[in-house]
């Protein structure tokens, strides 16, 4: 907002501020612009930029809320981060979760969108069905799945009707991670599905007709026409999904509390544990810096990929 003051011409001499000639429609319009944007700008400064700065500041201090004290330790928290024996596991879980989530989410969304894009009656019903978990309260959805995934829960009940015996999903390391990913994908895949469906419907029919005449098969048409045409949507959804996957907290807390062991302790959860369960704010802030860096790097990489990979832009 300092820019507002600086940019208002210092027209102190003529005409006088407040005088009839000074208060022009243009000046009034500029002021309106600043006033309209002011709440959002102030909010960004107060609730985004200020905490971001504080995060870096805190990360340079030793600060346990229970023990008290706030002492400058320089890079000590970062040295601790580099040597943290739990960190490789946490980063591994984060990578496994994000990669699994993005791959499963995008491929399932694409498959569902392609199925719904066929000339079939009643696809709107199926669209509603696949989208419906988006409307279910997140924690309610997760609680139901925690019940269904119990040893004597509904999933194993269903499996037993076809003679299969399911594991205790949330108690095994690999199955717990898989379960957390699948529950999250089912919750939100409808969003990406709708985006893909819109993209598929935007592909000009003539392209398909022309290539069919040229003798291209279904798979070639998909690879050579559909994929390039919807690549901007794939990129967009992958960015949203990757960044979103790094924020997943409730599902982990409700389903596994980071367990068994630390097998589903992703970075956000580890950050929460350190800051709000062990009350170590300094180290919590350091982990926040790491999370921020990961979000930033991934976003930049994906925007760079746009140049290479995305064939067409609207």
């Amino acid at each position: 907002m300092t820019k507002a003051v600086a940019d208002t011409p210092p027209g102190r001499e003529q005409p006088r501020p407040g005088g009839p000639g000074w208060w022009t429609a243009r000046r009034r319009d500029r002021l309106a612009g600043y006033l309209f944007a002011a709440p959002q700008l102030a909010g960004t400064v107060l609730f985004v930029l200020l905490p971001l700065g504080l995060m870096f500041w805190y990360s340079l201090h030793d600060w346990n809320v229970l023990a008290g004290g706030f002492t400058w330790t320089g890079a000590e928290n970062y040295e601790r981060l580099a040597a943290d024996p739990a960190l490789p596991g946490v980063l591994g879980a984060t990578a496994a979760f994000s990669a699994g989530l993005v791959v499963l989410n995008l491929s399932l969304a694409l498959v569902l969108a392609i199925l719904l894009n066929q000339r079939l009656r009643g696809t709107i019903v199926f669209r509603t069905i696949f989208f419906s978990p988006v409307a279910v309260t997140l924690v309610a959805w997760t609680i139901v799945w925690r019940f269904l995934l119990q040893d004597d829960g509904g999933v194993n009940g269903l499996l037993s009707t076809i003679g299969a015996e399911g594991p205790n999903w949330l108690r095994g390391e690999a199955t717990a991670m898989a379960a957390v990913i699948v529950v999250q994908v089912l919750k939100n895949v409808g969003l990406n599905m709708v985006l893909f469906l819109a993209a598929l419907q935007g592909v000009p029919k003539e392209l398909y007709e022309a290539s069919t005449i040229d003798g291209a098969g279904a798979w070639t048409r998909f690879r050579r026409i559909t994929m390039p045409m919807i690549s901007p949507t794939i990129l967009l959804t992958s960015i949203i999904t990757v960044v979103g996957s790094l924020q997943v907290f409730a599902q982990i807390d409700v389903l596994t509390s980071g367990g068994p062991g630390t097998s589903t302790t992703v970075l956000v959860y580890y950050l929460y544990q350190n800051a709000f369960q062990f009350h170590d704010f300094g180290y919590g802030a350091t982990l926040s810096v790491l999370l921020f860096a990961i979000v930033l790097v991934l976003t930049v990489i994906q925007w760079q990929m746009r140049r290479k990979w995305v064939v067409h832009e609207d």
């Binding site: 820019k3 507002a4 940019d7 009034r28 319009d29 500029r30 600043y34 309209f36 944007a37 709440p39 959002q40 909010g43 960004t44 609730f47 985004v48 930029l49 905490p51 504080l54 995060m55 805190y58 569902l112 079939l120 509603t128 069905i129 419906s132 409307a135 309260t137 997140l138 924690v139 309610a140 959805w141 609680i143 139901v144 019940f147 004597d152 509904g154 009940g157 269903l158 037993s160 009707t161 699948v182 089912l186 969003l191 709708v194 967009l236 960044v243 924020q247 907290f249 409730a250 807390d253 950050l271 929460y272 800051a275 709000f276 704010f281 919590g284 802030a285 926040s288 999370l291 921020f292």
Partner: protein
């Protein structure tokens, strides 16, 4: 010649009918994990505690009873928690609509010095989810004496990172509005606020709808912030409250928990079923433009 032609056509229709049947079959199988949990949540909330664990699971309650629903309100200040979620989500929705539509309008339609730079500053918010800044946010609200109040759950979504996406959506929409409309408004003697309120806003219903659905759901589902900021059960919002239905040993009381979960999901689900087109397209809009 002619019969051959119809024979071939009949063959393709028979084949396409079989393909159609296979497609429907596939869609039905795929639909199970999407529908079953919600179906099971609602029906199990009407079952007795024993029947919930029946093996194999029953699809409909043998003796439907609302008994568990009564206990939801016995074990927790659930009415207060429900009210908290409702009123916070309502304020967040209205607040986000106001803040984002005004900022979006300014960045789209008003040329003021520095508007590009300031817009970039706002966009930084997209890169910094509240999860990243939760530690300093806690400390800030702690310093203001606002821990264990609802203020952080209102102020951060309305003014902070979540509203940035909303501002972006509104800006994209306002940019596409034809300039002649504003010219007409100016001729009628409308000032900036008049142009925004009387001309731009009424035309932007789809974008406003998208932002409303998206910010309501965001607030309704908010979990990390309540867990971090709130400690008094009477102040809890629904997501946090749902996890609290445990017995003396910390094990979940399933029938009560499922009833509470059903109560928390039902209003949004009803809105979704009634207005599903707006709902789906609104949220798709949020994704597309975001």
């Amino acid at each position: 010649m002619r019969t051959e032609h119809t024979k071939a056509a009949r063959l393709t229709t028979a084949r396409s009918r079989r393909a159609k049947l296979a497609l429907y079959g596939l869609l039905c199988v795929l639909a199970v994990p999407f529908v079953f949990p919600t179906w099971w949540m609602v029906t199990s909330s009407l079952k007795s505690a024993g029947e919930i664990f029946a093996f194999p699971p029953s699809l409909l309650p043998a003796e439907p009873s609302l008994e568990a629903y009564g206990r939801v309100f016995e074990f927790a200040p659930f009415a207060a928690q429900y009210w908290n979620s409702m009123y916070i989500a309502a304020i967040v929705t209205v607040g986000t609509l106001a803040v984002s539509s005004m900022a979006g309008y300014a960045f789209a339609r008003i040329k003021f010095p520095g508007h590009n730079l300031l817009f970039l500053v706002v966009l930084v918010g997209l890169l910094i989810p509240s999860e990243v800044t939760i530690v300093p946010l806690f400390q800030m609200f702690n310093a203001l004496g606002m821990v264990d109040t609802h203020w952080p759950l209102i102020l951060v979504p309305v003014f902070g990172a979540p509203s940035v996406l909303a501002t972006l959506i509104m800006r994209q929409f306002f940019i596409a509005l034809p300039g002649e409309i504003e010219e007409a408004g100016r001729m009628d003697g409308l000032g900036r606020f008049g142009l925004y309120w009387r001309m731009a806003l009424p035309l932007s219903r789809p974008a406003l709808g998208a932002v409303a659905i998206f910010s309501f759901l965001h607030s309704w589902n908010l979990y990390l912030e309540p867990v971090v900021f709130l400690s008094t059960p009477e102040k809890f919002t629904l997501p946090q409250a749902l996890t609290q239905f445990t017995d003396a040993y910390g094990g979940p009381m399933w029938d009560v928990q499922l009833s509470a979960a059903t109560l928390s999901a039902l209003p949004v689900l009803i809105v979704f079923v009634v207005a599903q087109r707006q709902f789906v397209e609104g949220l798709a809009h949020t994704g597309l433009k975001g």
